[in-house]
Amino acid sequence: MADTARAFIELLEKRAPSPRISVIDHTQGPADWGSSEIVDLSGGTRLRFDSACLVDGAQIHELWLSDFALVTISDLVNSASQAIQGMLDAQALVLPKGGGRDVARIREAYVSLGSDLCILCGELTGALGATPSRWWAMSRDAAALDAAAARASGLTARSVPALRYLSRCEVVDLLPASSGAPTPQLEGHGRSTWSLGASRFLYELGCAGHAVGQDCTKAWRNLQRTPDFLRRRWEDFRASRGAGG
């Protein structure tokens, strides 16, 4: 992924006149980004915006109040809970993980924080011979890219939880593209159906446990407020009696 990103930056520097390129490196790895400015999203102010799917809203970095073009470059890897983890998940990394479901966070990132260009990349092994070969694919639409990657991995788009959730909330086209061009077989990227089902079950169980934990915490905090509430009411009562007398 770092090589693909560096190659893309080199391309931009050659083609675009005096481009100002900044890098948000979620891997926090030792990659050398040359003269590009590194943007650290852990600093600065985060603002909370209303979100249809996230109960506590979306905490978005103030950088998104300004205007810029965003290119997201991500590896395609398999995921215990999402079958494949690609562009949709990469876009959602700018939203902090809260108590909400990961698919809701992915949907919010797709709608409000989507990229202008998405580049998915990886390595092919096994099926195309002993020598690993690199591949990349790009699209303006993260969902289309992940759907294509899912199909190439031998999955249906609707078997990927994030894509299934997204197709319920937004108008997204998850049908195969009809370009007729051969597509690489990304064997080993997708999880088997039963393995994914088991992982999702455990994941949903964890989410439910988290929600119950949050409810219990809030209920306990409210109970702790009771003495203060009674004290203030008592003071108000005494003040009103004093004022009246």
């Binding site: 603002l47 909370r48 209303d50 109040l65 300004s66 205007d67 924080l113 003040a239």
Partner: protein, 326 residues
């Protein structure tokens, strides 16, 4: 941070409802003294808020406190604040700071001469949504400011008050000095102090010989317009509506801490459309007191600047020159 010793001059509604609770909650403040011309009332307020030292003469604050909140009737602000400033006491003075721009200039001159600090208490600037609007304007999210409207209105008497000076024919009375100054101040601040012309229509509905309803139109230097309305006879829509060449926002002048906005210059809006920004709730008076005291302690500039206050009072004087109190 060492807490400053604070005195409050004037224990009327705004003090007991807002300033004193804010001072009691602020870690940078040590509220030590309450002053009120009615000694029994000062003692009652002192007992309610557990402030032991009460008095009737504000001159007693000199040497006893580091800073004071002045919340007396409008016409007395200049006299009280100037005395305290000249004698080494920093002052947070209720709006309107003075009854004229010249009076305000003299108050600031007294502060500069004595090395003390003076800030006008324009609490509505410290509301979470208003601060967010100012931030978005400062980022250039709305482009060139084209139109701003806002209003404040409530039936006279509905709002708690201890004295009745606002409807008497004295300096600093009337709806423009009471509510209009909030709006004029916000217009001056949010527009970057670029008001070039003003016109005003005001009426005296009750024969008080001071205005009870007023509509103000401000022209901005680069062609924008501001429409303000304030009333003592009926509630008004408190929505602050700003439209610029690159976006718009709507929020309440003093309501829930949220705002709706769209900005062509924001990536968030370009992708996700109109956004509702949800802000943390904070009492504007708490934020104001904290800002005043921290700025005094750390020597920082106030959000409420001298040039903006003088500009606001100058505009107010021009409203009256146009016959607001005819």
């Amino acid at each position: 941070m060492t807490a400053l010793r604070i005195g409050v001059v004037g224990c009327g509604a705004v003090s007991t409802l807002f300033h004193i609770p804010a001072l009691k909650a602020c870690p940078a403040a040590n509220l030590t003294t309450l002053i009120d011309s009615d000694s029994a009332h000062a003692a009652a307020v002192g007992k309610r808020f557990r402030v032991a030292d009460t008095a009737t003469d504000y001159r007693q604050l000199v040497g006893a406190v580091d800073a004071a909140v002045v919340a007396t009737p409008n016409a007395t602000h200049a006299e009280v604040a100037t005395y305290l400033l000249e004698n080494g006491v920093h002052v947070l003075c209720e709006k309107p700071l003075a009854t004229s721009a010249d009076e305000a200039r003299a108050m600031y001159a007294a502060a500069h001469g004595a090395g003390t600090r003076l800030m006008a208490a324009h609490s509505r600037r410290f509301g979470a949504s208003i601060l967010a609007v100012k931030d978005l304007l400062g980022r250039g999210n709305f482009g060139r400011l084209e139109r701003m409207t806002m209003g404040l209105g409530s039936v006279y008497g509905d709002w708690p008050q201890r004295t009745d000076f606002r409807r008497q024919r004295v300096a600093g009375a009337g709806v423009l000095y009471d509510l209009g100054i909030h709006l004029i101040d916000l217009a001056v601040w949010l527009s970057g102090n670029r008001c070039s012309d003003i016109s005003c229509r005001a009426v005296d509905d009750f024969g008080w010989q001071t205005e009870t309803n007023a509509e103000v139109h401000l022209a901005l230097q680069d062609g924008g317009e501001v429409f303000l309305a304030c009333s003592y006879t009926h509630p008004l829509d408190r929505t602050l509506d700003i439209r610029g060449s690159g976006g718009w926002t709507k929020t309440s002048v003093d309501g829930a801490p949220e705002l709706v906005f769209h900005s062509e210059r924001s990536r968030l809006c370009r992708k996700g459309g109109v956004q509702r920004l949800v802000l943390d709730e904070a009492d504007p008076y708490h934020v104001q007191v904290q800002h005043f005291l921290e700025s005094v302690i750390e020597g920082r500039e106030f959000i409420v600047r001298e040039d903006e206050i003088v500009a606001g009072l100058t505009l107010l004087e021009r409203c009256y020159a146009e016959g607001a109190r005819a």
